[in-house]
Symmetry: D2
Subunit: 376 residues, 4 copies
């Protein structure tokens, strides 16, 4: 099976998320890393390339030389798909240039700093008929996909309540410890955008809700907390959700929930049943039934939906983890790039990026304007 020539912008030495993308790409078995702009420090970029056995000729100092260089190669020898794992504020510029020049893009979230930028990218993606995958990794877990398909099939009836949380504690020691905060780029609005907590993790919870339920959030009402007056960005907050349907929803998110690691959870309740899923133990899906005991659904069985089955390789009880979820997104993107048929939910795309930016902007606006409803 042909592997794509694959490039990366960012993600060189010491970037854990870059490493995660590389493992995901390997698991997907369709990508060969052959070049990129791995670091703003060109020497470090070359060191990284050497370590990864990448031809130094295809290590570029910046995005423009990358595009120039690759386009100068014959079409068959050229990088065709590029992953962007730079700090948030660079996503837009990099993605725009890549899309304009015909590269497929796999991009870390949040897709841009504003929804306007995201909409611009959307236009480019559609005009140039390119694949754009946004790595909302958690949608790659097999049990999330099982939940999505079962909700679509009406297995829990009409939805009545949606609850999601994303709790972390890692900023707690930084915010209290007197560390140089600018060093933490997520707390710097110029780099991270208008929100830390909602922009970095709340948006994952938002995406998980829209992904799992198939519903669209119409409006939000947010209370955000920056903890200290000198801190420009939110570190914590609760966001009420409004839908067309007669149901309530809420997202709770924090980066100062001391001791929490990466505690993303979703609960969905319908007229005939419900679901509960936790990211930290991702191979367990709790399914509630009206009038019967709840079930624990796990991966690897023939009775699961095809989508969940194809999202887990090993037999039951062999815990695949976050890299494999990530790999499922890369597998989906690869199918799309090859022009194969994909199924709904195969990987998040530019539309999810636009939705996410609208969520972040609306939540910040709601908070700024005194906790009022703001439409997405």
């Amino acid at each position: 099976m042909k592997r794509f020539q694959w490039g990366m912008i960012g993600g060189g030495k010491g970037a854990f998320i870059g490493g995660a993308h590389r493992v995901a790409a390997k698991i997907a078995n369709s990508f060969e890393l052959v070049g990129g702009v791995f670091d703003i420090d060109f020497e470090r970029a070359k060191e990284f390339a050497a370590q990864e056995n990448i031809d130094l000729k295809r290590v570029y100092p910046d995005i423009d030389s990358f595009i120039r260089g690759e386009l100068s190669l014959p079409a068959t020898d050229r990088i065709t798909v590029v992953t962007i794992v730079t700090p948030n504020y660079l996503h837009y510029d990099h993605a725009k240039k890549l899309l304009r020049n015909g590269f497929h893009v796999i991009c870390e979230k949040p897709v841009t700093l504003t929804s306007a930028e995201a909409l611009e990218l959307k236009e480019l993606v559609e005009k140039n008929k390119l694949v754009f995958a946004l790595t909302h990794t958690y949608t790659g877990y097999p049990m999330v996909r099982e939940m999505k398909r079962r909700i679509e099939a009406g297995d829990i009836g009409s939805l009545q309540r949606v609850d999601a949380q994303y709790l972390q504690g890692w900023i707690n020691p930084i915010i209290h410890g007197g560390e140089a905060k600018l060093a933490v780029w997520r707390l710097d609005p110029k780099v991270a955008g208008i929100s830390s907590c909602m922009g970095d993790i709340g948006v994952h919870a938002f995406n998980m809700i829209e992904y799992a339920t198939g519903l669209k959030v119409k409006k939000v009402l947010a209370v955000l907390n920056a903890l200290k007056p000198e801190n420009p960005l939110d570190l914590d907050g609760n966001v009420l959700l409004g839908f067309d349907e007669n149901l309530t929803g809420v997202i709770r998110s924090s980066q100062i929930a001391t001791g929490e690691e990466n505690n993303l959870q979703i609960s969905v309740y319908g007229t005939t049943g419900g679901f509960h899923w936790e990211q930290e133990n991702p191979n367990v899906l709790k399914m509630f039934h009206e009038g019967a005991p709840y079930e624990i659904i796990t991966p690897g069985y023939g009775y699961l939906t095809p989508f969940a089955q194809e999202s887990h390789v090993l037999p039951p009880g062999h815990p695949e983890g976050i890299y494999e979820a990530f790999g499922n997104l890369y597998k989906g993107a690869a199918k799309a790039i090859r022009g194969e048929e994909t199924v709904p939910g195969q990987f998040p795309g530019i539309d999810d990026g636009v939705r996410g930016m609208l969520f972040i902007e609306s939540a910040v606006k709601s908070n700024t304007e005194g906790n009022v409803w703001v439409s997405l």
Copy 2:
């Protein structure tokens, strides 16, 4: 040890909550049930009394004859403490009459239908120097008490985030099943008051937050859901909480979270640690620490706070349950009635009742007025 002559208003045949109070009173070992108004149907009341070996002379048809009858007895032979387990709308009248006539009162929540009524009772309690215990049962669990004491002691630093949920699903089949809804008195505003979900269970989550943290909620912003237009009361909702301190809080509550049983949970995060507790597995208290693994704290150990130790009798690993938590409230009330010293948090009282009514009223008002902040 002297046992109090004890009476009940309500709680006769077929009333599960009445039975729970009797077990709690027995566990507390200080109450002897000798009379009461057990049922609006006097015949049934007498049947119940016979079954419980209660002297039929002390079975009364209504509250007024109860008071008259007991007061006609010599002071030493008289019921001194009375438990009220009637439907919500009767609490106020019954409690007022009992307090006016010198009886100590143990009352189911919500204490009344309005905060004005609760304030009236508060005045009576204070004027007549009587004990008034409100059975927010969950505050009787040893691990809740351990959490409370540790937060008081500063073990998790200053609070940053408070999260509570109370999810049930039992109204789901009723609301969808075409059952005669009036038969469900909790859905009838005349009987239940202005709120079903917040009035019945949200108020427990509210009380748990104020109990565990020692903080007072200053204002709320609520979105409530009655699910169907013909249903006058909320069955589900989310309530954002405002405090003086710089922290966020939220209560999520539902009676239509299909498949959920009685899922009360609280999470509290401070600058140096946090707690997580779940009512359905009540002997487990998760304690987070900044920079160290989290601990699982369980009852029965000498290293626990005295309050938690006295709230659990058996050795570690012998699961005491909700009756024992309930019994702890009765034990606390008995100490207070005997004039013994009690510790803070020994049992919820009329102040908790007032706070609860303010919460319910404010939440409903916030929802009615378009999801705005309403001060308590």
Copy 3:
């Protein structure tokens, strides 16, 4: 409903297990404590009686005066059922005297020090047509009873594997800490019998297996561990089980599993499904199914077997605990004493006592003789 005049031998001040019996009896609502031999120290016995509002005339210094005294009363004013909660070595003598004189008996386990003694009691019970209840408390949990009934009904097919454990750590600090070991009567063979770990807790695991599966263990092969040469009794061990059926079984038990509290568990696997239950979270029953997700069964539902339904009073999600399990045995004994119909498994009796003693003796013999199979 008539309450039995009820007596206790042992279980006075400071005896936690005595207190547990009293709470259980209260929950059962059919027993009134009116006399007994509460303590070997008669003064302490009287103090206890005063505290419990018991007529001092019915506080006796020893078993013989107890029997004499009660028999001197008119039959209708007499204690009819007696609970024995003395140290193990006294059970036999006390039970024998009580049974010979026509008292129903509720007895702590192990029933006696030898199977010969247990068989003698069995003869007496049968001859005198008395009720004898042995408090293997864990059989009173509703989810254990649900498991039993479902196995009986063939819901998991023919059994293939049975696994039980009972792990505690409480003797660990004693055995290593240089405490006066004789003070711990369980380590003294004269008081505790020939086994500590198997006699005290292994026998519970054994009883749980026979109770839940309905099978009889035919032979055992044991390896026991006393940890230190100077310690006469086992503190830990593993016992292989032989059955008529083609299945394997094992009991693992320890009092030196450091950090374990009261960790009794059972797993049973059949041809079409299986069960897993844990005492420390007793309201959760895991049911495995061949070819389908496993279910979590909890109490309080109408779809449960009648036996499980009658063994749990409150609605789902209100955790009843070990006292309530205990109370279920007392309720069962009360039914039997009243001559009402009981169902199989309502309470463990003298046959369970005989079986338990055979288990303990066989396990010790197997260990002494070099880990060979010994028939029960």
Copy 4:
């Protein structure tokens, strides 16, 4: 960083374990699959190679041609390390030939069919100074490694009890379902060796015990169950363990524990603490302490031992799974092949293979001879 030219014997199309090795090798980032004997069907082997972009010249029909072909290449262009993932009965022959010809070997377990064969391989490994890694995958989990290091450091004192289980149910439907059993090679002694349950999974539990505790099992006493007389191999069993130290140990293992997936667990108790770990939720390590609450240890923290830290890449709460554990073994093997310093426990080797075979042989012998102790 130089990647090794890597070959595989077995593991082509449709072999899930072969795929797992390839993912592990990719995660280890030091292996490039360039050739092998992928299938006994040479056409299928070539199809597989084409799919993996492997030069067809290096696809060989059998082990001998593989060795001949690779040795004919210049040393620097040659495969240097080979993974064996053939059915059990072929491991010995393949490993012997590879080791004799100077190839490093990574081998699936059980290493051979007999301990004599394993000892032969050991001699070859030592004589030729080659790396031999045996993929007892579960030793690659970071929390297993943390447990190992803490036990080594004396963090739980002297060991008193060791308990391990490995429960699966996958053979249950086969054994009862009338499927052609010979198709299941694990049930065919010619292919699988003298044991199914102990040979396939019991040996993992055995290895886990020796790995985590650092102790050597001296003798075993086994009861095995083949369920049906016509079935030549054990499907279930319990194995008592004897050590030099004064401690008890037991391995429980089953392939007919209906509904169990891949439930490997280990519990170790010492004088001052204990550990409990479960493979199906591998990022949670429970640590017991005498006289203090137990802790939940999870990966990704700076306070863990260096070995656990280097065995987990992502921040806390990002669940790495079995592929990553597998990858840790490949990373360890790569270090050893490069001649870098490795730490104890970096990967299981031929000594573990010999120990495993001794365990399997001794367990089967103990069972055959009537459940007597057999020395390893």
